[in-house]
């Protein structure tokens, strides 16, 4: 009985969703191929574990960066292309603070704040890492969150609030303008390509040949805590309920007496804060800061959010982790220069097969 049931379901799938069936077959084949390659020794177990670990780290970065994007996408109904540059802004603000606290007294304020400037202090002179200077990093994380939230509010006030009634495409194009402005304002202010951040001996653990970096672990743990906090906030507080109501039906929420403008503000504050944290942590894990770091991540973050389902916080987290692991695992078959290509292909396939995402229908929960 059960076997026939599965058979008919399979038949349904092939007839009704042929594209999905094809991708499912390819997916199953790839999983088997990994085991085959493990069996024949083409890839070592340690390689596979380190792909999985690096994929998890990338996935948590994308997930944390994606929560804010997902929230604004579902509540304001537009794809915010400036989100990547909010990530960068958070990283710049947070790291300026971390440098300032770690090096105050020893170096001039100007040379510390201008993280990227030609007279800036080198990263090895400060030796910032999670063991040497935990307080500087904590302060940096907080400032990154606060300033990015403030920046989001400011941008909303100047750019997006006057066009609340505009359609999604118009808002999206305006956000491209914001992205251009933010990124180049940072370039203009800091005149830099890239900058080293961390120094000293960063602790790391090697278990059975796989290296787990101290900053990678920091990112995963802090990101997980922040996402848990966001979940509690949205699930168990009044403001969370209001946000979910607005994401589900804006007009109905307004009629019910939910102060929609205040909810929008809070969305920017929470989303912006998380985005700033994400920027700071990603820069910590990468050990370098570039003006284009957020923009380069943006499409991947979009991919994570779409994969999980726009508006779903769990979706952003799960989508990020799946995408991170899948794109790193892809290294089993493809060269490293196609890593991003693999991630984008996953996103496009997802949009074609199931545009509502894995967690479809659950908005902001």
């Amino acid at each position: 009985m059960a076997a026939r049931d599965y058979y008919s379901r399979g038949q349904n799938l092939v007839y009704n969703r042929p594209v999905l069936a094809i991708f499912a077959v390819i997916g199953v084949f790839l999983v088997f191929d990994i085991f085959r390659q493990l069996g024949t020794g083409t890839i070592a177990v340690t390689d596979l574990v380190s792909y999985l670990w690096n994929g998890l780290v990338l996935g948590m970065s994308l997930g944390l960066a994606g929560v804010g994007l997902s929230m604004t996408y579902s509540i304001l109904n537009f794809a915010n292309f400036a989100h990547g540059d909010l990530i960068t802004s958070g990283a710049f603000a947070g790291w300026a603070t971390a440098f300032l606290i770690a090096g105050l007294g020893e170096f001039s304020i100007e040379s510390l704040i201008l993280i990227g400037g030609p007279i800036a202090v080198g990263s090895n002179e400060l030796g910032i890492n999670v063991v040497n200077t935990p307080l500087a990093l904590l302060a940096g994380l907080l400032v990154a969150a606060v300033l990015t939230a403030a920046l989001s509010l400011l941008l909303d006030r100047i750019v997006f609030k006057p066009m609340r009634s505009a359609d999604g495409v118009t808002l999206m194009i305006a956000s491209v303008g914001v992205a251009l402005f933010l990124r180049n304002f940072l370039t203009y202010s800091f005149l830099t390509d890239s900058r080293g951040l961390t120094g000293g001996n960063v602790p790391q653990f090697t278990i059975a040949g796989v290296t787990f970096g101290g900053h990678q672990i920091t990112l995963v743990v802090v990101a997980a805590l922040l996402m848990l906090g966001t979940h509690i906030l949205l699930q168990y507080t009044k403001i969370g309920t209001a946000m979910r109501a607005m994401a589900a039906n804006k007009d109905l929420a307004k009629v019910t007496g939910i102060p929609t403008e205040r909810v929008v503000k809070l969305t920017w504050i929470i989303g912006g804060g998380l985005t700033g944290c994400a920027g700071f942590l990603i820069a910590l894990q990468q050990g370098t800061l570039t003006v284009t770091m957020g923009w380069d991540l943006l499409l991947l973050v979009f991919a994570a959010v779409i994969l999980g389902g726009v508006g779903s916080i769990y979706g952003a987290m799960v989508g990020g982790v799946i995408l991170g692991i899948a794109s790193r695992l892809a290294l089993v078959w493809i060269p490293a220069s196609f890593l991003l290509v693999a991630a984008f292909v996953i996103m496009i396939v997802m949009l074609l097969v199931r545009p509502s995402g894995l967690f479809s229908g659950r908005t902001t929960a």
Binding site: I113, T170, F338
Partner: protein
């Protein structure tokens, strides 16, 4: 409001004649640049070269905006992957024309054959990309197409395809270093053997070169201007084609899809097929225009096809106003001359006039002097290579936000080509204007 009254005045004066409007615009932009150059005493050769650059970019962006307008302004397809299709066109042409013995090798085909091949390839790829993509919402379509253009760029940049051999055929994209393209085809007009390193001019070339040499104008500049003239002819042809398409039954279906897809379907039109055709045609045109763009430089690299390239075209399109071919040309010309080339020209003016001392190292250093009301350090800081290009892009960002907030229809958007063949109601369009 002042722009509105200016518009009415200008339109009354130009008598609603689009060609006269475009010529007036070209003269105004050229005159502005020439005036500044003369007042500042720049060399004639340099001035003529600046004008050539502005005219060249204006023509290219006007054409690209026209092609994008076909997709977005007529059919409502939001293609944020224009740069990717441009790259496909240029690289197909480059690989088809590269000599078999070159590194990376190509197919050694003559240029006209290669251009036709590139247009076909771009059109087919565009059609295939549209096949699944057009089902998507506009914002998802935007994300998918920008991801597609990044996939194209990353693939062209990948070392694996820089110099490769597939099924026994050796070819290559040149990877991150780029690909050399054939020399400028317009040189045939002036030289007996244009492929030679120091070619001898033919009768026409000799006559023109000797005429302009006393004025200090170099041969390369004459060739550059000849290319611009050829581009303007292409632009005119494309403009005519767009107006024809807009007035044809095909174009009317496109505009009705833009207005209301369900009604169009109810009238028995296969909107899917129309969208795929339009997408493919627009992409093929972008491939061709990108070839015209890069042929003058003789070189292409993946860096030229970043998403910012697509945003440039969109800014040009939005300045002019979507849905109006004349608007696309106006937008392309204004974007290229004022926003794209303007800042570097202003920078030359500032450098010429102010005899700036050494630029401060940091923005803090530049701002410190502001207390004493001395703005020269800030100016010196701002006209450096990095900061002037950053300022230009900041300006583009502000323009984009301003346009979306105040004039989402652009300068000539009120003249959006209407879906019906006759104006149904003048009153209704007036009301739209006031929104």
């Amino acid at each position: 409001m002042s722009t509105g009254s200016l518009q009415t005045w200008a339109e009354g004066w130009l008598g609603n004649n689009d060609v006269r409007l475009l010529i007036a615009l070209a003269l105004a932009i050229g005159g502005l640049y020439a005036l500044f150059s003369v007042v500042l005493g720049f060399q004639l050769n340099g001035t003529v070269n600046t004008l050539r650059r502005v005219a060249f970019l204006s023509a290219i962006y006007a054409m690209l905006a026209l092609a994008l307008n076909l997709q977005w302004g007529y059919a409502g397809l939001f293609n944020l992957g224009a740069a990717g299709f441009m790259a496909i066109g240029v690289y197909t042409m480059g690989i088809l024309t590269a000599p078999v013995t070159a590194s990376p090798p190509g197919f050694g085909l003559p240029l006209p054959v290669a251009i036709v091949g590139a247009i076909l390839v771009t059109g087919i790829v565009g059609g295939l990309a549209a096949l699944p993509a057009i089902r998507l919402r506009a914002d998802y379509l935007a994300i998918v197409t920008v991801a597609f253009s990044e996939i194209v760029r990353l693939t062209l940049r990948a070392p694996e395809f820089a110099n490769t051999r597939i099924a026994g055929v050796a070819f290559g994209t040149g990877g991150a270093t780029g690909l050399s393209l054939p020399s400028n085809p317009i040189r045939i007009l002036f030289y007996t053997d244009p492929a030679a390193t120091a070619p001898a001019p033919n009768a026409l070339g000799a006559a023109i070169f000797s005429a302009v040499e006393p004025l200090g104008i170099e041969q390369t500049l004459v060739i550059g201007w000849a290319y611009v003239v050829a581009l303007c002819l292409c632009l005119g042809l494309l403009y005519w084609l767009m107006i024809r398409i807009g007035k044809s039954p095909f174009g009317r279906v496109l505009k009705s899809i833009r207005e209301d897809q369900q009604v169009t379907q109810a009238l028995g039109k296969d909107t899917r097929l129309f969208k795929i055709k339009t997408f493919a045609l627009g992409c093929a045109l972008m491939g061709l225009i990108a070839i015209l763009w890069r042929l003058s430089g003789g070189y292409a690299s993946p860096r030229m096809f970043k998403p910012i390239q697509t945003f440039y075209i969109f800014i040009a399109l939005f300045i002019g106003g979507t849905g109006s071919p004349t608007g696309s040309i106006v937008g392309g010309a204004l974007f290229a001359s004022l926003l794209f080339e303007g800042p570097s020209f202003i920078r030359r003016v500032v450098a010429e006039y102010l005899q700036l001392s050494n630029a401060p190292d940091t923005l803090v250093g530049a701002l410190a002097e502001l207390g004493t009301l001395d703005i020269t350090p800030l100016l010196a800081y701002s006209v450096q290579d990095v900061s002037i290009s950053a300022l230009r892009l900041m300006l583009l960002g502000i323009v984009l936000v301003y346009l979306m907030q105040r004039h989402p229809d652009g300068l000539l958007g009120h003249r959006k080509a209407i879906a019906s063949s006759v104006a149904l109601s003048q009153q209704a369009t007036r009301e739209d204007d006031n929104e």
